[in-house]
Symmetry: C2
Subunit: 344 residues, 2 copies
């Protein structure tokens, strides 16, 4: 069988915590562009077009039990979400030439044998990279977290931390479309400006410039917070707990401030959940994938009508992957971080 060149990004070893460029390396391998007989009857051969950098792509300490996070396998390609073109398929749901999104590998061509996550892309009048973000897993996380877990009402007071992230920017816009008051926090003046000017947040602040987060939240939320969409945990969660309203909802999407600590920070204000009957739900988006068609029906018209804006930071070429992933973890990406591997 004819072999073609297949560049790959591999993990150098086990990675603990946030990956750095130097934890990965590029290798040129070869692959046959045909599916062999021995492969499972639903295997799919794809060409990877877009790869996604997401905050869950950090190494788990191997002692963690039951952890959701990612385990990097030494000298194996990085695994992550992507948009792919089907070249060959044994799977009845996917045909040659179709576009899909789901879990793939950081390489030019992949044979996907675990096909459960793959979803066919039906609408290509929007950039296909959106299926790694606003129309993909982060978008579903925002949608399920805000509507299903947050249970918002018009007029609710909504606070979003890490609001410039792929999830946060969508949550804020969905909240504005519902008629909520929306404040976001982010880590630079650039991000704060875009939250207000482009995403329509009522207010936004740079948490790095605030001395007293409790006072900051009191300044923006005189009446308290109904929904806190938490991506960071730690000090921001402490401050939010004090400022929640009765029967508030904390949508616990992440605690990125805690993962790198040897011992996580104690949250002293947790007792407020009792005083104020608060729900804290670290939901999993996978429980809500049955809503994906409804999600698309909601979000696609908003995107086409310009009611939802989405900002990407597109790194060009598979080689740029390691730097792009590090940039996302260090807050340097100027939007949802993706890697453009091939145009078609």
């Amino acid at each position: 069988m004819t072999q073609v060149s297949n560049k790959q990004i591999l993990a150098s070893g086990y990675i603990t915590g946030n990956p750095k460029q130097t934890d990965m390396y590029l290798k040129s391998s070869t692959i046959s562009l045909q599916l062999s007989e021995e492969l499972a009857s639903d295997a799919v051969l794809v060409k990877n077009l877009i790869l996604s950098c997401d905050p869950y792509m950090r190494g788990t300490k191997r002692t963690d039990r039951n952890s959701l996070f990612y385990s990097f396998s030494p000298h194996s390609p990085i695994v992550g979400y992507g948009v792919c073109k089907v070249l060959e398929s044994k799977h009845p749901k996917f045909k040659k030439g179709e576009l899909v999104w789901g879990v793939t590998k950081w390489e030019e061509y992949s044979i996907i044998t675990k096909t459960e996550s793959l979803i066919k892309i039906e609408h290509t009048d929007v950039p296909i990279s959106y299926y790694t973000g606003v129309l993909g897993m982060p978008g579903m996380t925002a949608y399920a977290g805000f509507y299903e877990v947050g249970v918002p009402k018009k007029g609710d007071y909504v606070f979003i931390s890490s609001a410039f992230g792929a999830v946060g920017q969508l949550v804020g816009q969905l909240a504005k479309l519902m008629g909520c008051y929306v404040v976001g926090s982010a880590g630079s003046k650039y991000k704060v400006d875009i939250l207000k000017s482009k995403f329509g947040f009522d207010e936004a602040f740079n948490y790095k410039e605030e001395q007293d987060l409790d006072a900051t939240l009191k300044k923006y939320f005189h009446e308290g917070i109904d929904i806190y969409f938490d991506n960071v945990g730690g000090d921001m969660l402490e401050a939010a707990l004090v400022n929640m309203r009765r029967r508030g909802r904390i949508v616990a999407a992440g605690m990125i401030s805690q993962y790198e600590l040897d011992e996580p920070q104690g949250i002293k204000n947790l007792v407020n959940i009792i005083y104020k009957q608060i729900k804290v739900d670290a939901f999993t988006v996978y429980d809500y994938y049955h809503l994906y068609p409804k999600f698309l029906d909601t979000i696609l018209p908003y995107i086409r009508e310009g009611k939802i804006t989405y900002v990407e930071d597109i790194a060009k070429g598979l080689e740029s992957g390691p730097a792009a992933l590090e940039a996302m973890f260090t807050g340097k990406s100027a939007g949802k971080q993706v890697i453009l591997v091939a145009h078609e």
Copy 2:
């Protein structure tokens, strides 16, 4: 109008934290056993038969915003749940001679003008004191917390702290009836024995005798915990967070270990909710009162058939109220603490 004697238990002053006997005093007052013209059109005059001691009856620091807890009013009667006989009624739903349960005052006779909480007692083949416990607000808390918030399945691993309390003992029995594995913690050997022998818990332990709660929970839950019904918070919550299974549910009914602290304890293991997609819901029972008829349909047959057992500690006479309330807070009550004011 004829006045009769009306003994009352009054708060000596503002009470902060767990009330002590000395925070209350007995006074003999008088009352007219007729409803005057000026009273609201739904006022009810009742004779208090049973009064209830419940863990929410502790004084809030007056600086707390939005707090659920109780504010004692100096030189006013203690307010709490009770079972009462209607002597006079302007309310269309309640008639002279009927029994009701709901929020009343610690005195022989009360005029109730806030009647929203009153529910007519339809079934008197069980002890009427049960309507302050297993058939009243604590029972509804157990029922809503376990079924609606905990979302249990047969075979689930269930842990209940303060399992001997009015809520905990019912949660454990409901969980056993559903086919769950149930472990409870309590604060004395007597309570631990009753949990196992009378309430049918699979295991129970005295938390005061355990050195390492994480190890204790690992001993009883090899596979981890699906539902933690938390009444205590603090160290037990820390240990439970480490031992929860993926997608576990923490039913946050109370954090009694924290209320007396000047500064609440930091909960370091909260980040586990992200790693394991855990829901922590400090629900309010008042959101579930529409289920009260369904609750009675479930619980009453269990009680009549002896499938649910219920233990009360009955203090005799209104005068015994202050000591009974203190006993409940210091863990000395030998069952759900009630006060028998009058037989009929």
